[in-house]
């Protein structure tokens, strides 16, 4: 499924960029993320749980940065499985940062996500709604953290 969005953050582009490349901070902002770590310069690992109604799935994700132009844009792919279960998640993501003012950055992102396995029971329509509410939740938490950090630093 294709997902995308745009939001603005009251912080400089560099501050937003550094936040995006900080796995510890991202882990605290991504809904359902239990752990995230940097494995190498271009590779991250994350454990993310997704729950819809009684069905929950926990994905062991490997995120590879495929292309980046600091502090403007980043292209990545993520893929992971759910332990021994037949659930799988893959995503190709693109994110770009635009400086609107010195302390105001616009973040545009898009993602092509595929989820197979037990969460698929609910169908694409509901998955999209769930993805939308998760991304809204992320934006709220992420913006707040980066903005608070931007004020104190």
């Amino acid at each position: 499924m294709q997902l995308d969005g745009t939001f603005t953050i009251a912080a400089s582009r560099l501050q937003v960029w550094e936040a995006i490349r900080d796995p510890g901070l991202m882990a605290r902002c991504i809904p359902g993320c239990e752990a995230a770590e940097k494995i190498s310069e271009d590779r991250y690992h994350a454990l993310i749980g997704i729950k819809i109604g009684p069905i929950s799935a926990k994905f062991n994700l490997v995120i590879d940065v495929e292309e980046e132009a600091a502090p403007e844009s980043i292209r990545s792919k993520a893929s992971g499985e759910e332990g021994s279960r037949a659930s799988m998640l893959t995503a190709r993501n693109f994110l770009s940062l635009m400086e609107i003012e010195s302390n105001l950055t616009e973040v545009s992102w898009s993602s092509d996500v595929n989820v197979t396995g037990r969460l698929g029971k609910y169908g694409l329509g509901l998955m999209k709604k769930k993805a939308k509410s998760l991304s809204d939740e992320f934006v709220t938490v992420f913006a707040k953290r980066v903005e608070t950090g931007a004020v104190t630093s």
Partner: protein, 275 residues
């Protein structure tokens, strides 16, 4: 310990659920067991509520009607107490799936699962029903619309189970449940519960958002104008604006949006006395 445990009291069930966070309460098991067999869900235990006294049956309690959480759909579909403005609940129960499932599934289980396309939520929202929840902190009651938080998400916390549904005593008034489904017994593509009240109607729409759509404000505006075609069209429009339907195998969100005003006017026509 067995995978299925059968406590004898609500307290015992609640304690077990609190001590075993990966356990799940099981009422009839109509959906839960099928989901388990399909390996869609994991659980450390199923806590069967079948051997707990007092969770089954429909009766009067003061000014209210109480439907126990373990009351089966088939018992609800044939209950004489559900008449007048509560008849729609009986009609909805009779349209759930097929008779095998109606003999197995229960109201508490169906509400616990909170499938937005299932049949109870809209009729209970229309009837001003309240969900009784029992958990480690005791008993609480929530209006149906406050009980459903999001898609398949309810206000139930760890260790809490649906023990009953409370309804106002039935009044002399017509009520109806209109369900549009691809085939009899399927989940609703869209559904409408409607009952007549003095000068007006109460209406709740199902399967067009995470929870039933209901607008007391629009109901108040419509009151007294029950034979005004434009006012009814506006009312249908107001409910449509509350909708957040899914695209799924039962229909597109656009199709559902178009169904809402039509099904709402048809349901209102059903409960109106002829001029």
């Amino acid at each position: 310990m067995n995978f299925v445990v059968s406590p004898k009291s609500v307290d015992e069930a609640v304690n077990f659920l609190v001590e075993h966070p990966e356990a799940r309460p099981m009422s009839g098991g109509a959906s839960l067991v099928a989901m388990k067999n399909a390996r869609l869900i994991d659980a450390s235990h199923f806590v069967s509520l079948a051997n707990i006294d007092g969770l089954r049956g429909i009766g009067r309690v003061g000014d209210s009607l109480r439907i126990g959480g373990m009351t089966r759909h088939s018992d609800i579909a044939t209950c004489d107490l559900l008449k007048g403005d509560l008849e729609m609940i009986r009609l909805a129960a009779g349209q759930i799936a097929n008779s095998v499932i109606r003999n197995m599934g229960t109201m508490g289980g169906a509400i616990g699962n909170a499938d937005p396309a299932a049949d109870y939520l809209p009729v209970l929202a229309c009837a001003d029903g309240e969900v009784e929840i029992t958990g480690p902190d005791g008993v609480r009651r929530l209006p149906v619309l406050d009980y459903v938080l999001d898609w398949y998400e309810t206000a139930l916390e760890l260790g809490e189970i649906v023990t009953a549904v409370f309804l106002p005593s039935p009044k002399e008034a017509r009520s109806v449940y209109r369900k549009l489904a691809r085939t009899p017994g399927d989940y609703a593509t869209a559904s409408v519960a409607c009952c007549a009240v003095d000068q007006g109607v109460r209406v709740a729409v199902g399967a067009c958002g995470p929870r039933p759509l209901r607008s007391r404000e629009a109901e108040a505006t419509l009151a007294g104008k029950m034979h005004d075609v434009d006012a009814i069209a506006e009312f249908g429009q107001a409910l449509r604006e509350l909708a957040d339907p899914l695209d799924d195998v039962r229909g597109s969100s656009q199709y559902r949006l178009q169904l809402i005003p039509r099904m709402v006017s048809a349901a209102i026509a059903d409960v109106m006395e002829p001029v």
